[in-house]
């Protein structure tokens, strides 16, 4: 969404336009959800953060300093609230090792399950599942970046930077590296099962 359009929707929502609000939700809910999942929150915690972020925006819609940067505001708020809830969660992450971590991408996917699944024939596993599993085999950093980048609709790099607290300039090169690793992982999946 073009920043000017986003700013227009924010102003309209601040003035009482419920349709403008709904359009904001349609445009940015994918981003907010992706940030929570990128921070490896389980479904319940991700839901809490998602709701909190939108409730906060409803409250602040008339006070945002840069209405056309509302996407960045949402990404930043999602980041702060994800970190807050991650601290409160009883499931404490003690290591960054992808082997020991629940991938957080799906409650059904554990690394162990992924290993078992990969030994089955891949012929009847559809492409989406292949992609999902390949993502789950990447480093924590790549999983997080790609999870946020692949929100629907696609976020701007400014929004990704705000979500992950990384410099905008490093997103391009890291994206390229992570997509390369994803590509290799997919090739590896195919060759392992053929």
């Amino acid at each position: 969404m073009h920043p000017e359009e986003a700013g227009r929707l924010v102003s309209a929502a601040a003035a009482g336009d419920a349709a403008a609000w709904k359009e904001l939700v349609e445009s940015f809910s994918g981003l907010v959800w992706s940030v929570t999942r990128g921070y490896r929150l389980n479904a319940a915690d991700a839901a809490d953060v998602f709701q909190t972020v939108w409730l906060r925006l409803a409250e602040h819609v008339g006070r945002i300093r840069s209405p056309d940067q509302v996407g960045t505001w949402l990404a930043t708020t999602a980041r702060h609230e994800s970190l807050r809830v991650a601290r409160a969660s009883t499931r404490i992450i003690l290591t960054d090792s992808p082997d020991l971590l629940d991938s957080g991408l799906s409650d059904e996917h554990s690394p162990e399950q992924a290993l078992l699944d990969s030994e089955q024939t891949a012929l009847n596993i559809d492409r989406a599942t292949q992609m999902w599993r390949a993502l789950g085999q990447l480093s924590a950093r790549c999983q997080q970046l790609l999870r946020v980048l692949t929100a629907t609709p696609p976020p701007s790099y400014a929004e990704v930077a705000a979500a992950l607290d990384m410099p905008v300039g490093s997103i391009g090169p890291t994206r390229a590296r992570c997509l390369d690793r994803l590509r290799r992982q997919l090739v590896g999946q195919v060759s392992r099962t053929s």
Partner: protein, 160 residues
């Protein structure tokens, strides 16, 4: 400069393919989407917003540690000289609040979680206590002062 030649269209295609997979397997749950739309109706019009100025979970300075089930959490909200300190205690299914308005004064209090609103009173010393809270974000609303000088204050939403 070593390494294979990168083809940006390939990267774009792969990213788009992953985007479709993610949308299919881990998209925004429809009830959450609807709740976000409904959030608009719960904004506190005609009330001052009391911002979260302290959260013991984040601001206490201690390293993050495993939380015991009975550990309390302290929250402080502030709106133009009116403060509200809240102590959240209990386990996931039986969380309760003990609150204190600063400076101490009586008030009508509302605990709001989504559609559910519970009314309480803060006593002359500004103290109030809630019953068990459900899960998910909550906020507190206050009406303080006299008929001639009434002030309505609502805290930020927060998930506990």
């Amino acid at each position: 400069m070593g390494g294979p030649v990168r083809h940006e269209p390939d990267d774009t295609d792969l990213e788009e393919e992953l985007r479709r997979a993610v949308a299919r397997l881990d998209g925004v749950p429809p009830p959450l989407f609807q709740a976000a739309v409904d959030s608009y109706t719960w904004r506190a019009v005609d009330a001052e917003l009391a911002e979260l100025v302290f959260d013991s979970l984040v601001d206490s300075g201690r390293a993050a540690a495993v939380r015991g089930p009975q550990q309390t959490r302290l929250l402080s909200f502030e709106a133009n000289g009116l403060g509200i300190d809240v102590e959240v205690s209990g386990t996931e299914s039986t969380r309760t609040l003990i609150g204190q308005i600063v400076p101490p004064q009586p008030a009508s209090v509302e605990v709001r979680q989504g559609d559910e609103v519970t009314a309480l009173d803060a006593d002359e010393l500004g103290r109030f206590r809630s019953g068990p809270l459900g899960s998910g974000p909550f906020r507190l609303g206050f009406s303080v002062g006299t008929d001639l000088a009434r002030r309505r204050v609502a805290t930020e939403w927060i998930a506990i």
